[in-house]
């Protein structure tokens, strides 16, 4: 236990593992949400299953734990890393030896994602509770809420920005976690990079399609 929580390599294993877990979640969450395109019934029934299914409670607790652990460790390491250079350089490395902007700003990307997730939960999970009846069963009409929310230009714009940030975070995060978990190897490097890029872009495109589609092609009635 001590090796996992008090030495940075163990902490990075945990950041990597929780990061990969979150990355898997964002993929599945995106695929589930694509059901918007299949209409209100498919979407609402799927979401009902997600929230009330047998495993739902455990998945939610697991997600929350992974998210919190990821944030706490990332924050802890970022602070520690910041202070391991007492005097800053007058000039930054340039060209070949430079560090990419998206690698320097991980904690800020994380902060945006965190704000996004909190607002996202407030909007949808704890938002207006519409109801709908299918075959005599009353369930929550999340479809209506989603369509309603994505009529607002500001909301759509904010989603686009936050999702781009997630894309960047995922791209570095995936490559990085293979390295942190000791899984990178000269033979797989090329594929790890391609796969991480593809994964990040695929997830982002999937998500982005929702607010854009709803905003441009749907009305509040959901037609």
């Amino acid at each position: 236990m001590r090796k996992w929580f008090f030495l940075s390599i163990g902490q990075k294993y945990l950041i990597g593992l929780t990061g990969l877990g979150l990355a898997l979640f964002v993929l599945l969450h995106m695929l589930g949400n694509l059901l918007i395109f299949a209409g209100d019934k498919a979407y609402n029934l799927y979401m009902h299953q997600m929230v009330h299914g047998k495993a739902a409670f455990f998945i939610q607790v697991g997600l929350l734990a992974a998210f919190l652990l990821h944030i706490i460790l990332a924050l802890f390491l970022s602070v520690k890393n910041y202070f391991s250079r007492s005097e800053k350089y007058a000039r930054q490395a340039s060209g070949w030896k430079a560090t990419a902007w998206y690698q320097k700003s991980l904690i800020f990307q994380g902060a945006i994602i965190l704000v996004f997730v909190v607002l996202h939960l407030i909007t949808f999970k704890f938002g207006t509770y519409y109801e709908v009846v299918y075959e005599g069963k009353t369930i929550r009409n999340l479809f209506q809420l989603v369509v309603e929310e994505f009529q607002k230009p500001v909301t759509v714009l904010w989603y686009l920005i936050a999702l781009l940030v997630l894309c960047v975070h995922l791209f570095h995060g995936l490559i990085s976690s293979f390295q942190s978990l000791g899984l990178s190897h000269p033979r797989f490097d090329f594929w790890i990079k391609k796969l991480s890029f593809g994964y990040a872009v695929f997830v982002t495109m999937g998500y982005v399609s929702l607010p854009l589609y709803v905003f441009f092609f749907m009305t509040e009635k959901g037609g």
Binding site: Y89, K97, F178
Partner: protein
């Protein structure tokens, strides 16, 4: 050629320093960067001023003493070489050049451009060794090493411990240095025996010295005069993981 130098000056025993301007004229582009500093120091001594303190020894890229950050780049702009292998032809006439020491909490500045890198020595002492009985050298062929393994181990053993990886890392992390040593020894049969204890001891010492953690930016490997591969860090992480069980 003419160069406008901005050099970090910090008196011995003081916590603060600042940049001073020096203009050097009539320089030959074929001069090495360190020769230019020698020239500057001769001028300064001639003017009864304190010369600029900087580390150097072999001046052929093998000892790891030289340690300047030039315009933000440890060892200057070029890949795979130390600052002692840098020449003035890499700069433009009348260029402004900022010269700073390696900066890290674990590498306190001793004077001007010289930093105390004994944190590295303590990491080495903590575990980067193999315990063998002294006496006659054993027959070289008595321990067989697979060619590919030997090559890989050697690529990690090329580390000269200069600390450029720490200097360039946004976290001032010593991961590449420690990983090079861990990987070098873990790959060889002589080092296998103690590898579990070694990686733990070295990582613990690295943390104790106040280096940062690894964000896997890869800047270390790009700044490394010996181009030590990032895969050494993956291997160190693997060894760390295995050491737990």
């Amino acid at each position: 050629m003419l160069l406008k130098l901005k050099i970090w000056r910090q008196k011995r025993g003081q916590k603060k320093g600042s940049f001073e301007n020096y203009e050097m004229d009539h320089l030959s582009p074929d001069m090495s960067f360190l020769e230019m500093l020698d020239q500057l120091n001769e001028d300064l001594v001639g003017q009864k001023k304190v010369p600029v303190a900087f580390d150097h020894d072999c001046r052929e890229g093998i000892c790891g003493s030289c340690s300047l950050v030039i315009n933000g780049n440890p060892h200057g702009p070029h890949a795979g070489s130390a600052v002692c292998q840098l020449h003035l032809r890499s700069f433009k006439d009348k260029e402004e050049i900022w010269i700073e020491p390696f900066r890290a909490k674990a590498f306190p500045v001793l004077q001007d451009l010289i930093v105390d890198r004994s944190a590295f020595d303590r990491i080495i002492q903590s575990g980067a060794y193999v315990s063998v009985n002294t006496g006659q050298a054993p027959e070289a062929h008595s321990i067989l090493v697979e060619k590919a393994k030997a090559e890989e181990a050697f690529s990690h053993a090329a580390c000269i411990g200069c600390g450029a990886c720490v200097a360039v890392c946004k976290n001032a992390s010593a991961s590449l240095f420690v990983a090079a040593k861990v990987s070098h020894l873990a790959l060889l049969p002589q080092g296998k025996v103690e590898k579990k204890a070694r990686v733990l001891k070295m990582v613990k010492q690295m943390e104790k010295e106040g280096f940062g953690a690894c964000t896997n930016t890869g800047a270390c490997s790009r700044a490394c005069p010996k181009e030590i591969s990032l895969h050494s860090i993956a291997r160190m992480n693997r060894e760390y993981f295995k050491s737990i069980f």
